[in-house]
Amino acid sequence: MKKKLLPAILLVASLAFALVGCSNPTGATKPVDDGKAQFKSEIKFYGSTTLAPVLSQLSQLSQLSTNFNEHYGTWDKVDSQFEKKDIAIYVSGAGSSAGVKSVIDGVSDFGMASRKVSADEKAKIEGYQEFKLGMDALTISVNPNNNLTKLKDSLTSDEIKKIFSGEFKTWHDVDPSLPATDIVVVTRDIGGGAHEVFQKAIMGDSQIRADVIQAPSMGALVTKIMENENAIGYASYGMVNQNKGKLAPFKVDGIEPSAENILSGTYKISRPLIILKKGTLLPQEKAFMDYVVSNEGIDVIEKLGFVPNK
């Protein structure tokens, strides 16, 4: 009995190793490690759901023929000094704060954030570096069928604050000529990056009303505004451009959310699109980041409706 146990254990052990081997995304092409530091063929991006599509478009195979993977495929084609290994760039969206956290914890290579990184957070990241890709803004948008759009094209910060805090309950409160239908306020999750930007720029210390609809993504927020005539929410500038004519953005304090105003910071509710990194970049990471901030990267950012940093 005892004798048979040993081969059984060995078999289980080998099975376990075989299973571990499967989890390696580079698969069987793993070269023999002869003492040299291994060439890292994967780059992981983690964070903001606003930025994730930008980086996926740039890295993964997509309809754009100018992306990094399709151009090169393996690292040695990017630079002859790199090893011949498949380029593997993983992008996952989980929110700006999660992105910053992942860099602090060292679980991702790059973090994506669509808000400013606080001094506190920077202090926790050794050798903090950031790449500013561009700017996005939150526009105060309603459905184009909302009659308020016919009455005015600008809302003051105070009006917005009253709408979002619940002081104005119906559209009648906003303008006496409108019917007394309930205002449907749509936000992202309170505590997320987008809401933080909005809270700082408009709400200050005021609380948002309790019965807002918390949309699980910016896409869902915009869909809600497009579907509901009584809805108001902070749709991102990029989303407004992608859905031209289906959303009606207001000026805030008379300032239009235009590319110039957003870039110069005159438009109040804007946020930077940042990629952050702990420590120095590996050569292959630098090659990819050079590509991201190149003209092609700017093109993608513009195509997705954001304001690139020129």
Partner: protein, 290 residues
Amino acid sequence: MNQILEKLVSFLSRLFTALSAILLFLVIIFIARESLQIFREVNFFDFISGISWNPLAREPKAGILPMILGTVYVSIVAILISLPIGIGCALELAALENERLKSFCTSVLGVLAGIPSVIYGFIGLLVVVKFLEKNFLLAAGESILSGGIVLAVMVLPYIVSSAAETMEKSYKQYKEPSLALGVSKSYMLRALILPNAKGAILTAMILAFSRAMGETMAVMMVIGNSPILPQLLGKGETIPALIALEIGTAGLGSLHYHALFSAGFVLMMLLIFLNALLYLIKKNLTENLH
């Protein structure tokens, strides 16, 4: 050689069984460990009976009663809608003589169960929510009712498949005696098959209920996610939706983070309780049969 192989297989199967059992306990221990820390700051009773949720405010409040009620409310609405439909469907399937039609219906239900929940959520957002807005004159159609309707469709296959199985067995058993006595088919279904399937229906109900309570994405898309006390035509939030929405932004180790884990712990306890109930009912049923 054969003997060794047999020993090996039995050893491996035992090992993996143990592993999966241990996994459950590890999950419970992990969640309990992460969630217990909040009770240093908030009393447990306040946590489950508090009605305001604002863990990020200067004076953080973590009360998850609205979410507990929301979770239960949505699931009850879903069961109320899907149970009559599900039982009717199961009876029909059990009594269906046309084998080809029957296997077609069964596979349709199978496909229904396989549709990803985000698709249900999307359809719910565009169809159910829109419908409620138009016909109930609601400002926003996001409500407990819309969540219940979407969930009802999602749990329907579970109810049908677990009820139909038992009904089919008793249909086969009573078919010939009923025919011999000249009893009509509808009388047989009503007076024999349905009462006989009581236990199976109850099992199906609990199974569907626990499935409904854990559903995240579809519910999150149509329920509005407002942490307020739920009303049928008002917005609400469920525990899975709360966790999915906020865990990504909760600072590691913060009160917010632990509060979300505790909410998950409460949900898990509710589900374990339901499963225990299911087990007891099943045991009772099989004992009664013998």
